[in-house]
C-alpha cells in the first residue's frame, strides 16, 4: 500500500558527513538508515609502525572537536602498557585539561548545534538576532574552555603538551590566575545557560536505555574508572572487548557496538549523569533539580539539560583543581619502550572512548583498536529515530525531518570519529 520515503541528504549541525533514510510502509516505520559517507582515513592501519611516543599527536587528528579525549584514552592505554603510574599532580592536570574540553565541546553543542532545534532556527548565528545575550554568553563560556586548553595544551585544536609519562611542560600557579578568573565568569554563564535551556519546549519521550559510563571512587568520571552500566555491568577497561562487540547489521554498512549479552546501549552525558549522580557536588545537584532534572534523565531531548549541568560541574571542578594545584616535582617520568598490550578508557564529551595498543620490544605499534563513542551510540540513535518517526507519522515532511534531525543531535554524534572505524557504503556490483 502507501509507501513513503523520507530522505535527509546531509545532516547539518553534527560533526561529519551522514544522511538519513526512513522508509514508511502502511503507516509503520519499516526501515531507518543512518548512513555515514564520511571518507575512511584508516587510523588503526596508519598507527602500525609508529613509535609509542608518536601516538598521542596522531590520534588527536581523528577529531578536531575532541582531540583531548583521544590523547587521554591513548595516554592511559600506553601508560598501562608500559606500567607507568603518573603522580597525583599530573593526574589532576589531565583532569583539568578534560574539563576544558568538556566545557568547549558541550558549549558548542548546547548553544550552537542543539539549541536552534528547540527555538526553530537554522543556526546559532540566526538565533543570535533574537537571543543575542544567550548566544554571546555561550560563546564566552566556550572561550573559557578553550582558554584552559590553550594554557595546558598550547592550543585549542590538536594540543601539543600531553606526553607519555606526564606533560612536556607544566604551568606555574601564577599562569593559572587569569584562567581562573575567566572560569569564575564562565561558571555564572554556565548557570545562566542551564536556566535558559530549561525553558525550552521538550517533546514527551521516555526511553529505557542501558546506560554505560565510567565510575571511580567518589569522582565524577573523566580519566579513569571501571566500566559500569545501569544493568549491573562492572568491568575493568581491559575486559571491554570481552563484553562489547562491533557488529554489522544487514541494512546498513556501518559497524556499530553492542553489548554481547544485551545489544544497544547509550554512552555520553546522560549515561554519566545517571550512573554518577551521587558523585556530583550538592550545589550542582540542586541546580540540576531547579532545571527539572532528577537523578536519572530518560528523555533524550533533555540531554541538552544534562550537558548544561556537566558544563557547570566542569567549571567548578576546574576551579577546584586550580585552587589545589601544586606543580609536580618533574613534568614527566621517563618512558622506556617495551613489548606488551595496554588498554585505556576515558570519558570523551560524547561518552566512553576505548583504546588498545600492542607494541614490540622497540615500542613500535603492531596493532591498534579504537572504539569511539559515536560508534557505540549508533544503535540507540536508530532506535530513537524509529520512535520519533512513529510518533510523527502525521506530520508534514519538513516537520518530520526536523524532528528526526533533532533526535540525532540529541546524542551529539561525531561522525568523523566514528567513520574511521566504520564501513561506509556498499557497492556490491
Amino acid at each position: 500500500m502507501a509507501t513513503r520515503t523520507i530522505n535527509v541528504d546531509y545532516i547539518a549541525r553534527v560533526e561529519g558527513e551522514s544522511s538519513l533514510q526512513l522508509d514508511i510502509r502502511d503507516g509503520v516505520v519499516d526501515r531507518v538508515r543512518l548512513s555515514i559517507f564520511e571518507p575512511p582515513r584508516f587510523f588503526e592501519a596508519m598507527l602500525r609502525g609508529r613509535r609509542f611516543d608518536e601516538v598521542l599527536d596522531i590520534v588527536a587528528r581523528i577529531c578536531g572537536i575532541c582531540p583531548i579525549a583521544y590523547q587521554m584514552s591513548g595516554v592511559a592505554a600506553i601508560e598501562n602498557l608500559l606500567g607507568i603510574e603518573v603522580e597525583p599532580p599530573i593526574h589532576a592536570l589531565r583532569r583539568l585539561l578534560y574539563c576544558g574540553e568538556w566545557i568547549e565541546s558541550h558549549s558548542l553543542h548546547v548553544a550552537m548545534l542543539h539549541a536552534p532545534d528547540f527555538l526553530g532556527y537554522s543556526d546559532a548565528m540566526a538565533m543570535a538576532r533574537d537571543h543575542g545575550d544567550a548566544v554571546r554568553r555561550a560563546l564566552a563560556l566556550k572561550k573559557a574552555g578553550n582558554d584552559l586548553l590553550r594554557l595546558l595544551g598550547g592550543r585549542e585544536i590538536h594540543p601539543v603538551n600531553v606526553r607519555v609519562g606526564g606533560f612536556y611542560r607544566v604551568p606555574t600557579r601564577a599562569e593559572f590566575a587569569p584562567v581562573a578568573e575567566s572560569l569564575k565568569r564562565a561558571r555564572d554563564h554556565a548557570i545562566a545557560t542551564l536556566r535558559w535551556v530549561a525553558t525550552f519546549p521538550f517533546p514527551d519521550c521516555t526511553r529505557d536505555y542501558e546506560f554505560v559510563a565510567l565510575r571511580y571512587r567518589d569522582e565524577y568520571p573523566m580519566n579513569r574508572g571501571r566500566i559500569v552500566s545501569s544493568a549491573g555491568l562492572d568491568i575493568a577497561a581491559a575486559d571491554y572487548e570481552d563484553e562489547f562487540l562491533e557488529r554489522q547489521v544487514p541494512y546498513s554498512t556501518a559497524l556499530r557496538s553492542a553489548l554481547r549479552r544485551r545489544g544497544a546501549y547509550l554512552v555520553g552525558a546522560m549515561a554519566r549523569y545517571a550512573l554518577n549522580y551521587d558523585h556530583l557536588p550538592e550545589e550542582v545537584r540542586a541546580l540540576a533539580g531547579s532545571a527539572g532534572l532528577g537523578a536519572v534523565c530518560r528523555n533524550p531531548f533533555q540531554s541538552i539539560l544534562v550537558r548544561a549541568v556537566e558544563v557547570i560541574y566542569a567549571c567548578s571542578e576546574a576551579l577546584r583543581l586550580i585552587a589545589d594545584y601544586e606543580p609536580p616535582a618533574r613534568p614527566f617520568v621517563a618512558a622506556e619502550p617495551q613489548a606488551g598490550t595496554g588498554c585505556g578508557c576515558t570519558e570523551a564529551p560524547r561518552g566512553i572512548l576505548y583504546h588498545r595498543y600492542r607494541t614490540d620490544s622497540d615500542g613500535v605499534i603492531q596493532e591498534a583498536n579504537l572504539v569511539p563513542p559515536t560508534a557505540q551510540n549508533q544503535g540507540i540513535i536508530e532506535e530513537d529515530l524509529r520512535q520519533v518517526a512513529m510518533a510523527g507519522l502525521d506530520l508534514d515532511e519538513d516537520q518530520l525531518k526536523a524532528n528526526c534531525e533533532q533526535s540525532i543531535r540529541n546524542h551529539d554524534p561525531c561522525i568523523s570519529c566514528a567513520a574511521h572505524f566504520l564501513t561506509l557504503r556498499v557497492n556490491r556490483s
Binding site: Y10, I11, A12, R13, V14, E15, G16, E17, F37, E38, P39, P40, R41, F42, F43, E44, A45, M46, R50, E54, D57, I58, R61, C63, G64, I65, P67, L108, L113, P116, S122, D123, A124, M125, A126, R136, L139, A140, K142, K143, N146, G154, R155, I157, H158, V160, N161, Y168, R169, Q248, E405, S416, H420, F421, T423, L424, R425, V426, N427, R428
Partner: protein, 261 residues
C-alpha cells in the same frame, strides 16, 4: 551597482576527508563570529547551519583531502560554484595524515581496519585540493590558526592578497625569546624547515616542532636531517619525523624517502 554592494558576500565551507578541526576554527572565533556573520552571508556551512543555500558562492573554504572517487567529482562542482576557493589546513593543502596511505598498500590498510574492505570506495592516495582544481590560496596548518583564517576571509572579500607571512617557525621561536630546544637539550626540532603560523608553540612547551604547518619554501631538510643524525637520531626515526601531517608535501616527502629502508 547599489544592489550589488548591498548584497552580502556569500561564504561556503566544504568538508572532504578531515577531522573537522579547521572548520571548527571558524566557530572558535568566539569574539568575532557574530560580527563575521553580519558582514557575510553564511550560505553553506553544514557543520553549523541547517539552511544550505545553492551557489554560486563568493568564497569557498575547503577542508580535507580527496580520498574517494565521489569526492574527486564533488570538488569539481565546488570549484565551478566558487568565485574564490581557499583550502584550509594540512589535509586540503598537502593531503594530511591520511596521505600516509600514499606510501603503503591501500588494500592492506583497508583490510587492517574493516571486516569487508571490498565494500569501500576509496582511492589509493590522499591528495590535496590543488591536485584536482585551481586553488586561489592555501592556508596551512594542522590545525590552521584562526587569526590567519580571519585575515584570509577579510582579504578575499576585499579582493586583496592575504597578509600571511612565509618564514620558518625558527624565526618565531627567536622572537618569542625561547631557548633553542635543539641546541640546549639536543631535542630534534623541525622549526628551521617548517612554515610559520602556529606561533612556535612546541618549543615554547619544551618540545621540538613536529612540522604541522608543513615545509617552508626553500627548506633545507637535508642539512637538518644531518644535524638530527649527529644528535644520535636513528635513520628510521628521522623518516618518521618528516612523515606526519604533511607527509606528502614536497620537501618532507623527499627527506623521508631519503631515510627510507
Amino acid at each position: 551597482m547599489a544592489a550589488a554592494s548591498a548584497r552580502r558576500p556569500r561564504l561556503a565551507v566544504w568538508k572532504f576527508a578531515s577531522c573537522d578541526g579547521c572548520q571548527l576554527s571558524l566557530l572558535d572565533c568566539e569574539d568575532e563570529l557574530l560580527m563575521v556573520a553580519e558582514r557575510i552571508e553564511i550560505a553553506y556551512f553544514p557543520e553549523a547551519a541547517r539552511r544550505m543555500l545553492p551557489g554560486p558562492y563568493d568564497l569557498s573554504l575547503v577542508e580535507g583531502s580527496i580520498t574517494t572517487p565521489a569526492d574527486a567529482e564533488r570538488i569539481q562542482r565546488v570549484r565551478r560554484q566558487s568565485r574564490r576557493l581557499v583550502t584550509i589546513g594540512a589535509c586540503a593543502t598537502a593531503g594530511g595524515i591520511q596521505a600516509l596511505r600514499n606510501f603503503a598498500d591501500i588494500r592492506e590498510y583497508a583490510a587492517a581496519v574493516y571486516p569487508y574492505p571490498e565494500y569501500l570506495e576509496t582511492l589509493a592516495t590522499s591528495t590535496p585540493i590543488s591536485a584536482h582544481v585551481p586553488v586561489d590560496f592555501e592556508l596551512r596548518g594542522c590545525p590552521i590558526d584562526k587569526g590567519q583564517l580571519l585575515e584570509v576571509i577579510k582579504a578575499f572579500l576585499a579582493d586583496r592578497k592575504p597578509a600571511v607571512p612565509g618564514h620558518s617557525v625558527c624565526i618565531d621561536c627567536k622572537r618569542r625569546g625561547n631557548v633553542c630546544v635543539m641546541v640546549a637539550s639536543g631535542t630534534p626540532c623541525l622549526g628551521p624547515v617548517t612554515h610559520t603560523g602556529c606561533g612556535a608553540i612546541c618549543p615554547s612547551y619544551d618540545r621540538g616542532c613536529y612540522g604541522c604547518f608543513g615545509p617552508v619554501a626553500g627548506a633545507n631538510t637535508a642539512a637538518l636531517a644531518k644535524e638530527f643524525a649527529a644528535l644520535g637520531v636513528a635513520r628510521r626515526d628521522i623518516a618518521r619525523l618528516f612523515q606526519t601531517f604533511n607527509a606528502a608535501a614536497g620537501a618532507f616527502r623527499d627527506e623521508a624517502e631519503r631515510h627510507g629502508d
